[in-house]
Each structure stands twice: as structure tokens, then as C-alpha cells.
């Protein structure tokens, strides 16, 4: 017993704990500044200036917003289901953060004679894990909407749940075509394959488009933000929430956006691979650690571009009607994804 405990790699545990701490704080920081970025992008697209009072260019605006949310009165409606009401936003936040565990943020650092991997868990079923966690995200919305004991919240939650479930199908099918090429479910392996060969967006343009549209739907972002259609449902599933519980829901949406951008960049755009450069030869000339830092930067640039794209779409395209949403999901995206899957399979068979 003692021997097995001693044989356990305690430094690895420490290493992972520090990595988890860093990744969670970075995703929260990114989510914070996404709110600022969203308001700035929205403003610029509408010929406005956006927040510019708090600090230079309004960079302290998210702090002010956060402080405001913390200062608000915390209201739990009497008719609500108290435990579930508190559980809802927590679950939304938890599932949003959990996805980041399998994303490789960089190759690895070489410090103190150890290779420190920049991935919390290199599980060989990474994509399945992501799917599992993302589909749990619907519980956050559903439980929150149901526990509020409010017709509009429940309606919004049902809308959100049905939308996420329908788009998950097309998303899964579009991923299957990708997996037929990669032959692996591990995100790390997928990135390493792209470092050597082409980015998979070149081989799977249709699959990427379907995945992108489904990612919008999964994040409940415009044009698929039916669950918070404020003109129809007052405020959506978080109508009864106030203070930081509301903040958690709003934050979870932005964390989701960050993580889905990271997943999209990893699956289709080479992840932490530095574009137009052979990373292996760069390691030869610069050493492992500088290249690892450059790779983090490269991944973050890709993520920021995707996040900008999310915002860009939000401030351009109006919201779908419910029947249009369902028609797009079931009658367009699923057949397209199936076709993409068959075409990819046929192509692989033809090439031998």
C-alpha cells in the first residue's frame, strides 16, 4: 500500500493542478474580456464607440460590470425549487469549464528535466468526452428554467434544450467524417497529424461549416439564441435570476464560446500548430520552450479570430424563428452531414 502511494508521481499531480488553475483563470479572464470585446465589436459595427469610460478604451468595464453584479440583491423566488435554482447556474458554469480539460494548449514545455504537457488530460476519447460534457450543458439551462417556476423561463429552457439536442446530432455526424480521416479521437493526435499534413479544414470544408453552425447553436448564440429571445420570452431561462447567479449564466455563455472556439481551432485549423512554419524544424533552431510559447500564442490568435467571428455573426444576422431553426437542423444540416460522411468514406475507399 505504502509502496504504491510512493510510486505515484506526485510532481505530475502538482503539475496538473497548476495547469488546471492556470487554464481556469485564463478562461475566466478571456470570458471577462469577451464581454468587453462583444460590446466594442457591437458598437463598432453600429458606428458607435462602445464602452470607453472605465479606463483607457474602457478596459476596466468588465470589472465594473462584475462588481455591479456582485452588489445586486440575490433573489431566490419563494415558489422556486431552491436547491435546483442554485444548482442550475453552477452546472452551466461547470460544464462550460470542464470541456477545456482535453484541449491541447501547446505541445509541451521542457522544464527541470521534465516534459510538461500543456494538456490537462490526453484521454484517447477526447472528442467523445467533449460531446458528453457539452450535452450536459443543457441541464444547466433546463434545471435553471424549470426551477424558476416561471412559464417563460420554462418555455425558454425547453427551446434551448430541444435546439441543443437537435444540433448535437448534426455536429456528431460532421465529426464522424473528420474521425474517418484522423483515425483517432485524441485531440493531441489530431493536432499532431495536422502539424505534419494539411489542416483538416482543407479536407473537410463542408464538415467544418456544419460544425461551425452547430457550435453557434450549442453556445446559444445568435442566430440561434431562441432560449433568450427577449422580445418573446422576456429574458429567457434566466429571467428569475439576479446577482452573480445571473452572472454565472452570462459568463458560462462566454466561456462556452471560448472553449468551442478552441475546439474548432484544434479540430479543423491545426490547433497550436504555427501556420506556414514547420514546427519540428523550429524546435531544432529555437529550442522547445520558446516554440511552446509561440504555439500557445498561435492557438490564442486562432481562438480570438473565432471569437470575433462569433460576435461578427451575432451583430449581423437576425434570430431564426423556431420552425426555421428546426428545419435547418433536421432537414438541411443532418442530410448534409450524412452526405459529407458518405462522400468522405467513398473518397477514403477510392484512395485505398
Amino acid at each position: 500500500m505504502h509502496l504504491t502511494l510512493l510510486a505515484f508521481d506526485w510532481v505530475l499531480l502538482l503539475e496538473k493542478a497548476v495547469l488546471i488553475l492556470i487554464i481556469i483563470s485564463v478562461s475566466l479572464l478571456v470570458a471577462m474580456y469577451e464581454t468587453w470585446g462583444e460590446r466594442k465589436v457591437a458598437a463598432f459595427m453600429q458606428d458607435r464607440r462602445g464602452p470607453n469610460r472605465a479606463g483607457p478604451g474602457g478596459v476596466f468595464q468588465p470589472l465594473a460590470d462584475g462588481l455591479k453584479l456582485f452588489m445586486k440583491e440575490e433573489i431566490i423566488p419563494l415558489s422556486s425549487s431552491r436547491f435546483l435554482f442554485v444548482l442550475g447556474p453552477g452546472l452551466a458554469m461547470l460544464t462550460a469549464m470542464m470541456t477545456s480539460a482535453v484541449v491541447p494548449w501547446s505541445s509541451h514545455f521542457h522544464l527541470w528535466g521534465r516534459d510538461i504537457s500543456m494538456q490537462i488530460a490526453d484521454v484517447n476519447i477526447g472528442i467523445l468526452y467533449i460531446f458528453g460534457v457539452v450535452s450536459m450543458g443543457v441541464y444547466g439551462i433546463m434545471i435553471g428554467g424549470w426551477a424558476s417556476n416561471n412559464k417563460f423561463s420554462l418555455l425558454a429552457a425547453i427551446r434551448g434544450a430541444s435546439q441543443i439536442i437537435s444540433y448535437e446530432l448534426a455536429m456528431g455526424l460532421s465529426i464522424i467524417a473528420l474521425l474517418m480521416i484522423t483515425g483517432s479521437l485524441s485531440l493531441k493526435t489530431i493536432v499532431e497529424q495536422q502539424q505534419v499534413g494539411h489542416y483538416y479544414v482543407l479536407l473537410q470544408p463542408l464538415g467544418f461549416l456544419i460544425f461551425l453552425i452547430c457550435a453557434f447553436a450549442e453556445c446559444n448564440r445568435t442566430p440561434f439564441d431562441l432560449s433568450e429571445a427577449e422580445n418573446e420570452l422576456n429574458f429567457g431561462y434566466h429571467q428569475e435570476y439576479s446577482s452573480m447567479k445571473l452572472g454565472f449564466y452570462l459568463f458560462a455563455e462566454y466561456v462556452n464560446m471560448f472553449i468551442s472556439s478552441a475546439v474548432m481551432a484544434t479540430l479543423y485549423w491545426g490547433g497550436y500548430d504555427i501556420p506556414f512554419v514547420n514546427d519540428a524544424s523550429l524546435v531544432q533552431s529555437m529550442g522547445q520552450n520558446p516554440v511552446a510559447i509561440l504555439q500557445v500564442v498561435s492557438l490564442f490568435v486562432k481562438i480570438v479570430i473565432f471569437i470575433f467571428f462569433f460576435m461578427w455573426v451575432r451583430w449581423t444576422i437576425p434570430r431564426f424563428r423556431y420552425d426555421q431553426l428546426m428545419r435547418l437542423g433536421w432537414k438541411v444540416l443532418i442530410p448534409l452531414a450524412l452526405f459529407n460522411m458518405l462522400a468522405t468514406g467513398a473518397f477514403i475507399l477510392w484512395r485505398g
Binding site: V41, F44, M45, Q46, D47, R48, R49, N52, W312, V313, W315, T316, I317
Partner: protein, 178 residues
């Protein structure tokens, strides 16, 4: 039917063809429009740092004028209060006592002179009504305040600085005007 304007355009109700039903080109077009707007000049003026220049005939906050020797011009005749369509002006007259000739130009003066800036519609009729050149509308507007009381301007707020005893303040308030 005769179109009402030259820009009238009949609504096209033809069913969409395959290219249009793909929506992607239309979305791309819309997104290029929003992206183009990111680099457009913003019409917003950053107010406290930058102020929009007013025209010389701008009608802003009132000032009570003094003559060259720094004496108040207002004689509390009440013509401005009568002319005021919003009934924003009230005043109380008082008689000039011996020895106050350096303070007031005429024998009668306004002991109390108040303008309610919340009632005022800044029409400038008081300025036109005044026979003594005592009231003018300046190129500033009323700053925000927490209470209604703060918008009732008395003589302390309205009177311009004395050019004889407070020459620096007078020059500053006068600014580029002549």
C-alpha cells in the same frame, strides 16, 4: 396606382431559387456590410473631453450682464418674466440706497432674480424683451444635477464676473467672444 415617391419598389414575391435558398451568399454579403461599418467614422462626440462647437446664435444658459464699471444692468422691470412663455423667471425688486451707486446702474434693482432651468425652454424671448441689455443667453447649457433645487439659478449663478474687481474671471468667462 401612382407611386408616391420615385424610390418606390414593388415587393418581389417570386419563390427563391437554389442559390438564394443556400443563404450563405446573402449572409456573406451582410457580414461584409457590418465589417465595413467597423472602420467608418463614428459620429459620436466624446462629450466631456470634446465639446461640439455651437453656432454664435446658440441659446444656452442665461447670464445677467454688468456694464463697463461692473454695475448690474438689471432694473427689475419684469418684462422678461412677462415675456417668458414657460413662466420660468421670478424676481423681487428693491430700491437702490445711497452709496450703492457703484453696484447698481439704475435706482431700482433686482434683489432676487431666479430662473428655473427645468421650466425654461431657451426660446430667448427674455433676451429680446430686455430694454436694458441685462439678460443674455450664453453658449453653455445646464449641467446635470441630483436635485430639482439645483436647477433653480439665482443671481450668484447668473451674474457675470465683475470686470473691475474680478478682471481675471471676467476675461476667462468672456473667452474668445467680443
Amino acid at each position: 396606382m401612382q407611386p408616391l415617391t420615385s424610390r418606390a419598389k414593388a415587393v418581389d414575391r417570386k419563390p427563391m431559387n437554389l442559390w438564394e435558398r443556400m443563404y450563405i451568399p446573402a449572409i456573406a454579403k451582410g457580414m461584409s456590410i457590418t465589417f465595413g461599418h467597423m472602420f467608418k467614422k463614428k459620429p459620436t462626440v466624446n462629450y466631456p473631453e470634446k465639446k461640439r462647437p455651437f453656432s454664435p446664435v446658440f441659446r444656452g444658459l442665461h447670464v445677467l450682464n454688468r456694464d463697463e464699471q461692473g454695475r448690474e444692468r438689471c432694473t427689475a422691470c419684469g418684462l422678461c418674466a412677462v415675456a417668458c412663455p414657460a413662466e420660468a423667471i421670478t424676481m423681487e425688486a428693491a430700491e437702490r440706497l445711497p452709496g450703492e451707486e457703484n453696484l447698481y446702474r439704475e435706482e431700482k434693482y433686482a434683489a432676487k432674480y431666479e430662473i428655473n432651468m427645468l421650466r425654461c425652454i431657451f426660446c430667448g424671448l427674455c433676451e429680446e424683451a430686455c430694454p436694458k441689455d441685462a439678460i443674455y443667453l450664453s453658449e453653455t447649457f445646464a449641467p446635470s444635477n441630483y436635485t430639482r433645487k439645483g436647477f433653480i439659478y439665482g443671481k450668484e449663478e447668473l451674474l457675470i464676473p465683475d470686470p473691475v474687481t474680478q478682471p481675471e474671471e471676467f476675461a476667462k468667462a468672456k473667452g474668445q467672444r467680443h
